[in-house]
């Protein structure tokens, strides 16, 4: 097993762990705002680590750039989704 493969195994496993943590958080956390916190961890770190781990396996430069593009787009989407969902929650329940 080459060093690149070891890197892939470690990073993808770590990514899968964050997805697991995100799902458990989404199911177990007590209210919507804490669940949102769990969700964004899975979005950012989970997919980020999976993409990082897949980079050594990418087919050429364009393949690697597309992988990074997917991650950047999901970062942007996930950050926006988290912000607008939090805004909606804040509108409904004004702080005490």
């Amino acid at each position: 097993m080459s060093a690149a493969d070891v890197f892939t195994v470690v990073a993808v496993s770590a990514g899968a762990f964050f997805f697991l943590a995100g799902s458990v958080g989404l199911l177990r956390f007590p209210d919507s705002l804490t669940r949102l916190h769990a969700l964004t961890k899975a979005d950012n770190l989970g997919l980020g680590l999976v993409v990082l781990g897949l980079l050594p396996q990418a087919s050429g430069l364009l393949g690697g750039l597309k992988l990074l593009g997917v991650w950047v787009l999901v970062q942007l989407s996930s950050a926006t989704a988290a912000q607008v969902i939090a805004q909606a929650l804040g509108r409904r329940r004004p702080p005490p």
Partner: protein, 89 residues
């Protein structure tokens, strides 16, 4: 290596699928939207892993398409949940 990538894909799909129980349980629509958001990201990760393992051509483009649209369900939900005061002239 192939088997490891596929196993990781299966594991991620399984965990986000378990997260789908939030759609069932709710209790509020915002929680359901979050479950869909998590499935979107997990689906993209699964797709990338499966594509790397099976070498299917063009799967990165599908992942790019899904990544572009990842926030759409949440934005549509928040948009239609927002109060309509701005619609008054």
């Amino acid at each position: 290596m192939t088997d490891f990538l596929l196993a990781a894909a299966g594991l991620i799909l399984l965990t986000v699928a378990v997260g789908l129980a939030r759609i069932l349980r709710g209790p509020e629509n915002v929680d359901r939207t979050m479950a869909a958001q998590l499935l979107g990201t997990g689906g993209i990760a699964t797709l990338l892993l499966v594509a790397a393992a099976t070498g299917v051509r063009g799967a990165e483009d599908v992942a790019l398409g899904l990544a572009l649209l990842a926030a759409f369900a949440s934005v549509a939900f928040v948009n239609s949940a927002a109060p309509r005061q701005d619609d008054d002239p």
